[in-house]
């Protein structure tokens, strides 16, 4: 099977998996004990209050009706256009849109995940390579020991030790939160757009530059693909030019009408750089350091061992000996030849670890009071907030599926044997 059909099959398979996941969460939530209705009443609750609340939360409808509502809500396109995220229902605790809450909590976890993965993979791979090069030496054993021990450390314990040392005793870094309370969260890049004096026509004319640029890229690509330019190529590039021109004109006019262009990724480190505010950047990095170090060190263990094992195998292969015999530098051989070939399983592991990340993130986020998806889910469980938990788990399931999809496709791209 070719690469294309492999990709298509994999993408199609994700839909039933997600549907199944969603249904399972839905059922499990409603079957197990715990009642979001009663939790709204800290003190007394008369029966009529509970009844009203039940109706207000939509829990008085039969189970299949609730399920149908939920599924149909998910595929509601108007909602997506209006809000920018799918309809995941309203939180049973705060009545806010679950989609909105998840989308504001998600960037926090994403930021933590990205930086932890960077720390974990860089540290893990480097240490693994070093260990494999000095097989059976003391350094090798030390690094192997490190790789094994990190797996056995409870995440929250490491986090608390870091809090103790760096937050309480040394006072260098904050013990919780995404950014110090004395500094406002960064808002990203805000550009105030002014209306061009010639109105829409002027904007339209200017957009021709964008159209030209995009069609130039298109022509270059066509040349690379060696398409005969005479008729087909010309037609394609003309069509691209006109479409790009029109689309760009309308899109840019839409943003001009809005007045301000806000580019915010939700990642505080990047947003503060976009905002060109060094104080916020420093504060967000300070707050990010301990949690990402905790998660990163714990995750690096498995990268150390995997890299070491794979490198040990690869370094024994003939082509490595041949490369060394040809007189190539040691570092080129290690990184350019051996690591490259050993990299594929590491890539798969990266994908798998992203999935494990949420479990680790829940404990890290609770320890460091990091307002991300993990802590969100944990709080919502204590509130028995069905819609929120469903939404968060599905969101995360989607994320995991996407990541594993990307990893699988990359794997198939690099290794033709998999596509069969």
């Amino acid at each position: 099977m070719g690469l294309r059909s492999y990709i298509v099959t994999r993408i199609l398979l994700t839909i039933p998996t997600l549907l199944l996941l969603l249904s399972m969460v839905f059922l499990v939530m409603r079957v197990l004990p715990g009642d979001p209705v009663a939790l709204h009443f800290e003190k007394k609750a008369e029966p009529w209050q509970l009844e009203n609340m039940r109706r207000k939360l939509g829990l008085d409808k039969p189970l299949w009706a609730q399920y149908a509502d939920y599924i149909f809500g998910l595929i509601d396109i108007n909602y997506v256009l209006a809000y920018g995220y799918p309809n995941l229902g309203k939180s049973m605790q705060t009545y806010e849109e679950v989609g909105g809450q998840i989308f504001s909590a998600f960037p926090a976890t994403l930021e933590l995940a990205i930086y932890s993965m960077i720390i974990a993979s860089v540290m893990g791979i480097l240490l693994g390579v070093v260990a494999s090069k000095s097989y059976n030496s003391i350094l090798d054993h030390l690094i192997r020991g490190f790789g094994t021990v990190t797996y056995a450390v409870p995440i929250f314990f490491l986090g608390i030790i870091f809090q103790l040392v760096f937050g309480v005793f040394l006072r260098w870094l904050p013990t919780g939160g995404r950014i110090s309370s004395s500094v406002e969260p960064p808002t990203g890049l805000t550009i105030i757009l002014s209306m061009p004096s010639g109105g829409f026509i002027y904007n339209f004319l200017l957009s021709s530059i964008a159209g030209l640029a995009i069609s130039a890229i298109c022509i270059a690509l066509l040349k690379v693909k060696r398409v005969k330019f005479r008729f087909k190529g010309f037609a394609i590039s003309l069509a691209v030019f006109i479409i790009a021109w029109v689309v760009y004109a309308y899109v840019s006019w839409y943003f001009v009408l809005k007045g301000t262009l806000q580019i915010a990724t939700g990642l505080y480190t990047i947003d503060s750089l976009l905002e060109a505010n060094p104080v916020k950047f420093v504060e967000s990095v300070k707050a990010l350091l301990l949690p990402s170090l905790t998660l990163g060190i714990i995750l690096s263990g498995i990268f150390v061992r995997l890299t070491r094992t794979n490198m040990l195998e690869t370094l024994r292969l003939d082509f490595v000996t041949a490369a060394k015999a040809r007189g190539l530098k040691e570092s080129t051989v290690t990184y350019g030849y051996a690591l490259r070939n050993a990299f594929l399983p590491i890539l798969t592991m990266l994908g798998l670890q992203f999935a494990m990340l949420l479990s680790g993130a829940i404990l890290t986020e609770t320890t460091f009071s990091w307002p991300g998806l993990g802590r969100y889910i944990y709080q919502r469980i204590s509130f028995r907030d069905y819609t929120a938990i469903q939404g968060a788990v599905v969101m995360f399931g989607l994320f995991v599926t996407l990541v594993s999809l990307v990893v699988d496709i990359l794997y198939a791209y690099f290794d033709p044997r998999i596509r069969l």
């Binding site: 996941l21 021990v149 056995a152 409870p154 314990f157 103790l164 040990l312 479990s359 938990i389």
Partner: protein, 294 residues
């Protein structure tokens, strides 16, 4: 084959098997080290109640949050309980929960995997899809959700942890069986008229055991860490049962008063216990990996 003969052959493998481990290089030493650590901790927990200097729960000294001293070598916690006694006794709940959850996972995941991959076809594909969906669940979320809803107690904790790990057993067993069942001697067994349960139990299952053992040890280590995590969040056993997880939870609350000893010692013990199992698992998996034999 006689059941007696099987038992004898297993025993016959165990003892020389153990000594042969020492000859297998660093991986063998890993396994031995792991076994020693685990055994030492189990023994310590078992005789803990007798060698502990004070009652780990009911003895409350007026010297609360006292740093390590000759009287209290590991200090006292916020209620005046002696940390050393709590360390000696506190591993039992974790061991019980982990053992129980491994047992449950084994009893459910392995037969399911064996049966499903042997039968194959639609049944196998649907079950795999369901298990994959469960696998996509963030594990800790399930554990927390179930523990929150079932309440405190060893059995509830074990149940919530096992639900998380059953998919791993299933997948490992299934992938192993898929390759084993194509082997010629299995075909031969089927050709000679062996029934499906005989084929599974006598031909396929023994080949799957090595990988199951590895998964089980890693599962043990994970279960210990998850049990600690659950108690840390407050969903573990009640406070009248000494548990390292409780000390971690308490230690966190008293961090700001610089009482580092409340959290450090229990944490190190948990690391040690999980490390023991991880070493066994890692060592065994390395031993089985032919590519590393030099």
């Amino acid at each position: 084959m006689n059941k007696v003969k099987i038992k004898r052959s297993i025993l016959a493998h165990l003892i020389p098997g153990f000594t042969s481990l020492t000859k297998k290089g660093p991986s063998g030493w890993m396994v031995i080290l792991g076994l020693v650590i685990v055994l030492a901790l189990v023994v310590m927990t078992a005789i803990g109640p007798w060698i502990a200097p004070h009652d780990p729960v009911w003895y409350m000294s007026p010297k609360i949050r006292a740093p390590p001293s000759p009287e209290f070598p590991m200090g006292t916690n916020h209620l005046g309980q002696d940390m050393l006694s709590r360390i000696l006794v506190g591993g039992s709940i974790m061991l019980q929960v982990a053992a129980l959850s491994v047992l449950v996972c084994f009893l459910i995941g392995v037969p399911l995997g064996l049966f499903s991959s042997y039968v194959g076809g639609l049944f196998d594909s649907t079950l795999s899809l369901v298990i994959d969906a469960v696998y996509a669940f963030p594990g800790l979320v399930i554990a927390i959700a179930i523990a929150a809803m079932l309440g405190s107690g060893v059995i509830n904790m074990a149940l919530s942890i096992s639900v998380v790990y059953i998919p791993s057993y299933f997948r490992i067993v299934r992938s192993q069986v898929l390759s084993i069942k194509e082997l010629t001697y299995v075909e031969a067994a089927k050709a000679t008229g062996a029934k499906w349960h005989t084929v599974l139990s006598r031909y396929i299952f023994p080949n799957v055991i090595p990988s199951i053992v590895v998964v089980a040890t890693i599962n043990f280590a994970d279960a210990i860490l998850t049990a600690a995590g659950l108690t840390f969040i407050g969903l573990g056993v009640t406070y009248d049962i000494p548990d390292w997880g409780w000390d971690l939870k308490n230690g966190w609350s008293y961090l700001a008063s610089r009482a580092w000893w409340i959290i450090t010692f229990p944490g190190l013990m948990i690391i040690l216990l999980a490390l023991g199992f991880t070493l066994i698992g890692e060592g065994l998996s390395e031993l089985q990996n032919p590519k590393l034999q030099r």
